[in-house]
Symmetry: C2
Subunit: 555 residues, 2 copies
């Protein structure tokens, strides 16, 4: 019996939807050669990560084992799968493999960070394979809401493992490859050790619908519209962008792309040949001379992002274009949980302009990119793995998917971020628990989610901030009165006197009563001033601010 083992370790994406990062390893324990599948980001929000620019997986474990990493494979070009490759290239220095569309997007990111183009290798499609260390890896096409999404077929000395990537079962996806059951059956015919499988839509009970069902409905809607039509969707959903553009063109409208991502994705799809025909596009500045009933705008910002084209149009002009009463705005998209407020804000702003907004509540103008429960079962039945490990889901999704697997006679393994699974032999087992977490890109700095930086910002948002300044002379005696500056706090409270005056008065009294021992001790002074200010504020305004105490001693 070999002492080598095959391991699976999610560092992101298992226990959340976002920042996917999965590690596979083979070798003697602690000496495994490693590959990484996907290196994505998640997006911050005001609730939990105010001011943060991007959320990245914590890859400390990988960095410490950098010499053992053979390669990074990227399944597809969504931000939650490819978004971190450039941010972590310096840290990992591993070659990156992706198919041509994904590689095109990845290289654009690498260029922005000044990394070399040849760090990204364009991989061919199955049956081509790449051998890196003990792994032989192939990109097996699977349909999703972006071109060239692929499952990874990972051949190891312990057998073949399939990492599904994000997928749906779509036989007519428009742009990109349809799901090919025959090809999949062929790949899986000798038995699959484990399927690591997308879990996003495990709670959706009905079979998913094909991208192709949308075209006729969208054409009907656009054909009947009387004013300008503006539609938003994820720019990376090239098939959808094309469906929308085609509907516009067929209604005799000129197509305009608004928002950087929209142009970038269409360019990448044309450059790489994954899309060959797209209606002619006119520039925003040329749109102004065209009657609005002859215009079809495709814009970014389906999730209500404040800086994207949709939100800007909702606030007023964007690139010289303005929406008006009688225009139509179409969300050919679903609102991701957590983004409701931003989307609703836009809808109400359009309502104030007299713009009619159509969203997906009718179910006619959007289909999901992920496999619903019956479609997950279709993949299970084609792959027939011994072991099923759910990924790409919150805990509730993983748990439900693992239960489904068990109910169908597979071994279901609920593995969350940091749980290293040993897949060798016949029964998978937890090999180790790795400390994982989130890294925040904050401005240009990477900080740990638990470093306390963001916690302090949240506290200031909740409680406001006060600065107390005290100057002591060379005899440790206060020189003048303590000085208070406030930010994010009301000007007056209970007593109607200026809050600053009330606080300064209370601090002054405390300072006058403080003994020489306290006055000599910075820590005691700091602690006493802080406590006094917080108590005084509590009495006056019912809040305890965050406090910065500055003690200056003349020397």
């Amino acid at each position: 019996m070999s002492s080598e083992r095959l391991i699976y370790l999610p560092l992101g994406g298992a226990g959340e939807i976002g920042m996917n990062a999965y590690v596979y390893g083979y070798g003697k324990p602690g000496k495994e050669r490693l590959i990484v599948v996907d290196l994505g980001v998640a997006f911050p929000d005001m609730d939990g990560s105010p001011g943060v620019d991007l959320i990245l997986p914590d890859i400390t474990w990988l960095k410490d084992r950098r010499d053992r990493i053979e390669a990074v494979f990227v399944t597809h070009a969504h931000e939650d799968h490819v978004g971190a490759v450039a941010h972590y290239y310096d840290a990992l220095r591993a070659p990156i493999y992706a198919r041509k569309f994904t590689a095109n997007i990845a290289r654009r990111k690498m260029n922005e960070h000044g990394h070399p183009n040849d760090a990204v290798t364009t991989a061919g499609v199955w049956p081509e394979q790449v051998t890196v260390g003990p792994f032989t890896v192939g990109f097996l096409p699977i349909s999703h809401s972006i071109p060239e999404s692929s499952a990874m077929v990972i051949d190891t000395p312990e057998g073949r493992v399939i990492h599904s990537g994000d997928f749906k079962i779509d036989l007519t996806p428009g742009v990109g490859e349809p799901f090919d059951p025959g090809l999949w059956a062929e790949v899986c015919k000798d038995g699959i050790k484990a399927l690591i499988c997308d879990s996003t839509n495990v709670f959706s009970p009905l079979p998913g619908r094909s991208e192709a069902t949308l075209g006729p409905e969208i054409e009907k809607l656009v054909g009947a519209a009387e004013g300008m039509v503006v539609a938003t969707t994820f720019a990376s959903n090239v098939a959808r962008v094309k469906t929308l553009a085609d509907a516009g063109a067929r209604a005799g409208r000129s197509v305009v792309l608004l928002g950087r991502a929209m142009k970038r994705m269409v360019d990448a799809a044309l450059e790489t040949g994954v899309m060959t025909d797209f209606p002619p596009v006119i520039a925003p500045e040329d749109a102004r001379s065209i009657p609005r009933e002859n215009l079809m705008l495709l814009v970014t910002g389906s999730q209500g992002e404040r800086r994207a084209a949709s939100a800007q149009l909702a606030r007023g002009k964007y690139q010289g274009i303005e929406m008006k009463e009688g225009d139509l705005f179409l969300f050919s998209s679903k609102t991701i949980p957590g983004n409701e407020r931003g989307v609703i804000r836009i809808i109400n702003q359009f309502s104030e302009m007299g713009v009619d907004v159509v969203d997906d509540s009718s179910g006619l103008y959007h289909v999901s990119g992920h496999a619903n429960r019956p479609d997950l079962e279709t993949l299970h039945d084609v792959v027939k793995p011994q072991v099923l490990i759910p990924m790409h889901g919150e805990h509730r999704h993983l748990r439900e998917h693992a239960k489904l697997a068990e109910a169908k006679g597979m071994t279901g393994v609920l593995a969350v971020n940091g749980m290293m699974i040993d897949l060798s032999g016949n029964a998978p087992k937890v090999a180790e628990y790795i400390e994982t977490g989130r890294t925040y890109l904050d401005g240009t700095v990477k900080i740990g989610a638990l470093d306390g930086v963001v916690r302090d910002r949240i506290r200031m948002a909740l409680n406001g901030h006060a600065t107390v300044t005290v100057i002591l002379d060379t005899d440790d005696e206060p020189l003048g009165e303590p000085w208070v500056d406030l930010m994010g706090l009301p000007e007056t409270g209970r007593s109607k006197a200026p809050l600053v005056d009330v606080l300064e008065e209370d601090l002054s009294q405390w300072l006058n009563r403080a003994g020489a021992k306290t006055l000599r001790d910075d820590d005691k002074l700091n602690e006493g001033l802080k406590r006094t200010l917080r108590q005084s504020a509590m009495d006056e305004i019912g809040k305890k601010p965050e406090v910065t105490v500055v003690v200056s001693r003349l020397s």
Copy 2:
């Protein structure tokens, strides 16, 4: 022709869902006698109002006309209708009228604020009426998700106006009065000048379902459960609380109420007799000695509120009770848009415990308290008003409802907060635009939403905070170096040196170069130090912090 006029003025609730406050007036322009219908609150969120405790309508306009206010009428006891009565009692000093259940809840609030019990008058039900100034007002029962919800029948010299309050068309609401079409037809038989109408569910195309449809499904679910069952709903939905409790009792389970609001609402319903039979309830401490499969807990926190019972159970023990693998948690509720993150957090925490969570995605365990589009039409058809003014909705709801009214041959008036409508004569018209807005209860202080206080807190949350301290001697020469304290910012940036050191060095250089004129001028010093720190931070960490500059001059 009379020079008197009848006016309608929404101060809250028209252009948002929450903080309802509607004014009716009759008299000579500028001298109208006024009544207020509802005085509610809205709830803050981290996105837009971090640290705020409650959002109240801005009632400056009313305060300035306090001597003209005859009374405040409260349609029902939901927080967005009654929540502000105690907060504004001192400001308005107007008598408050409500039916007995609503009055019971209102008096509890008044007591907490030390206001007199008799400020709230218990009103009888239609055909009883109260005459206040030129208005004669009656409480006409209408079904909703709380007992004794009522429409206001407002008789004026210009005719009869109906203010629907929140409602659904429910002939079998469980607790509380069913909608009575015959009574409504009788009230409306002589013609209705205007219907001011709930718009919440105008986008829901199917007829609403009755509260009574839920009992059998909930009984089935609870009957089949093997562990402890915990269910959450709005505590004020007394009918639902009873349905849940009855299902527990029928399954042989002891019922426990967890969370203050749950106990308060059941007490109020029993005290006022709107509910006469409720299963016996045991105390949380007694529950510990009962096998978990014999327990049914009804808990607060259906919206994922962090301090409510649901969230506390999801984090661990609450009042000695702990959920375990095999227990069932039921959301007999809908997640209000914007609360998704909190609810999903709880579901995942329960998933980690092995607790099965059932929510309303099946449509079996919750019905809305608001009239769907066909039910709105039912009310329109019963009331047959000349004018329909949509209320209780965001702009998109009001606009859609006004369009619906116009399509049905009524005059639809889209009136948002601050828009005073003159309802006299035959054609309603905008009489005036009043400045309105939101008042924040922040700790114990009321501040204006646009005062800048919360804006500063949001900026600190996004950008962090830096304090710069400089001491100048009597000759206006810097004494020592500038001093920097940071909060909510990373410790190091691009150069890897401590951020504080980098900032202090740059500030020091700027200060050394500053001329005597700058050093003498507090504003110039302040401005220069702030700009220098922000630029230096931008270079080092890619962020511009909020800055407090403290300049101390020795004298």
